[in-house]
Symmetry: C2
Subunit: 300 residues, 2 copies
């Protein structure tokens, strides 16, 4: 009998989506960083959830309880940022082992609360249940001005491809301490109206494929242009994930608006959007063309 | 060192709430069946989450995968109903064992989707991760007319106490097949403006205490009036939980509006609201007064 290992996470999601019908009030359902729903006259409601489980996403050896709580919220904020929105309200479900000391629970909540305050969002509810593994499921509501909404599916032929910050090595260093790029996304949108945007959670190769697939395009990126983090390898930058930087595409007509010097954060142009049939290509430092494989973190 | 077992779930929630600050846009944060947030001119947004874990909330022996999926959504719909609202949008996070067969995943999703369609709500997003235990965390958005919002905290001295349906024995029979009381709640609100309402998830004694504590009142209920399910005991009706009926209070002035005969479902008056210092009392069939103990399901 077929099991999850065979079809993987992408296959699983595709399988589930086929069977789900939504009504026409839904502006964007499954298939982007967040769902997009009606809200006010000038804005949409963003709705997103992420589950983190001990032994899969983190271990007590590699992170403090405060970092674990912080990260569970940060990954959700990052999804809101990638849509062009700001986070507003969160509910927190915690699965906790019976024998866990109260201090650990306090630390998890401190990690969540501190970040919530830094990003101006409210914790408004949740659930606490017993669980053999520490399990955090945070669901976040955000708000985005209609004119700022940036989906994955609008990258156009010839658009240039950009990333913020540097990539790779985050599984050791940055994954528990990154700052979701909310303010950066706002500046990017204001300065050069990106056609598509996503946050880098599963690795550049995987997340670029998500934009490519949604937008029905291909992409060429250049090894020489990829901002690899100090101490990291190209492979880590391409496949390791957990960078939580922004990957976005910009129509050529808007690129002239780019004021690199005026941005308070690093933006790198790494390639351009091409036809779908070309797939994802990496041009290495010797000008050889490689096909970019998908080998990010596999859940199943 | 102190651990969760010592303070229990109620103690844990109290501990966490103390440390959480929310801004004034939040109409109701932690402490009711759902959070209540600004939405349209005439309605509020309801926001609630529940986590169900294999081995804690269900086992593969006692329920089919379809029932497990169905229940994970149903408990959330029940919370929306208890606020006087209707369910609108859901996101679904699934933790799944790597070796789980695809048919099981399809069945879980069928349970969720079928109920979603019956209640007219949209599944708009989610997350799928690896987990040793099947873990479902569903978060639901609902909508409530401002005039229909029914909190836990407004029960008044002298109000009568009602429940829908019958109680007890649900851990064997009803817990996987109950229908959340959305339409019933709408009728109850229309017919006699309840002062407070909650859904019965943890047992009559526990959930009555939640209303009592939030409203700063006590309650007297009468053994003779409690609608015990056929085959169930009084103790099961009081302490077992998983009934997902509605418990609500009605000011005397509104009780006359009650048209028992016109309701298409059973409503029973079981007691009345008294002063806080009296606590929760049960008058048994021999007119003896018992103090109602809290002994619902303990997570920790």
């Amino acid at each position: 009998m077929s099991n999850l290992r065979k079809i993987g996470e992408f296959g699983l999601i595709e399988r589930m989506v086929k069977k789900i019908a939504v009504d026409k009030s839904v502006i964007q359902g499954i298939g982007d960083d967040t769902a997009v729903l009606p809200y006010t006259k000038e804005s949409y409601l963003l709705f997103t959830t992420d589950m983190l489980i001990e032994g899969v996403h983190f271990s007590r050896q590699e992170a403090t309880f405060t970092q674990i709580g912080r990260k569970a919220l940060a990954v959700n904020i990052s999804d809101i940022a990638a849509m062009g929105g700001v986070p507003k309200y969160a509910v927190v479900s915690l699965g906790l082992p019976r024998g866990l000391c109260l201090r650990a629970v306090d630390d998890i909540m401190r990690g969540i609360n501190t970040l919530a305050q830094e990003y101006g969002l409210n914790i408004v509810g949740g659930d606490t249940v017993r669980s053999s593994k520490i399990t955090l499921c945070i669901t976040l509501l955000g708000q985005v001005k209609k004119t700022n909404l940036t989906l994955r599916s609008r990258a156009g032929l010839g658009d240039l491809i950009f990333v913020t910050g540097s990539l790779g090595g985050s599984r050791n260093l940055k994954q528990f301490n990154f700052f979701p790029r909310v303010a950066e996304a706002q500046q990017i949108i204001k300065k050069f109206k990106p056609s598509a945007m996503i946050d880098l959670s599963d690795g550049l190769a995987s997340d670029l494929e998500r934009i490519a697939q949604s937008s029905k395009v291909g992409a060429v990126i250049f090894e020489q242009l990829i901002p690899v983090s100090r101490g990291a390898t190209l492979n880590q930058a391409l496949f390791q994930g957990e960078d939580f930087e922004l990957l976005f595409t910009v129509p050529l007509s808007s690129v002239r608006r780019l004021h690199k010097k005026s941005a308070k954060f690093t933006i790198s142009c790494i390639g351009k959007v091409v036809e779908r049939k070309k797939g994802l290509q990496l041009i290495d430092n010797k000008a050889r063309i490689e096909r970019l494989k998908q080998k990010g973190f596999r859940h199943f």
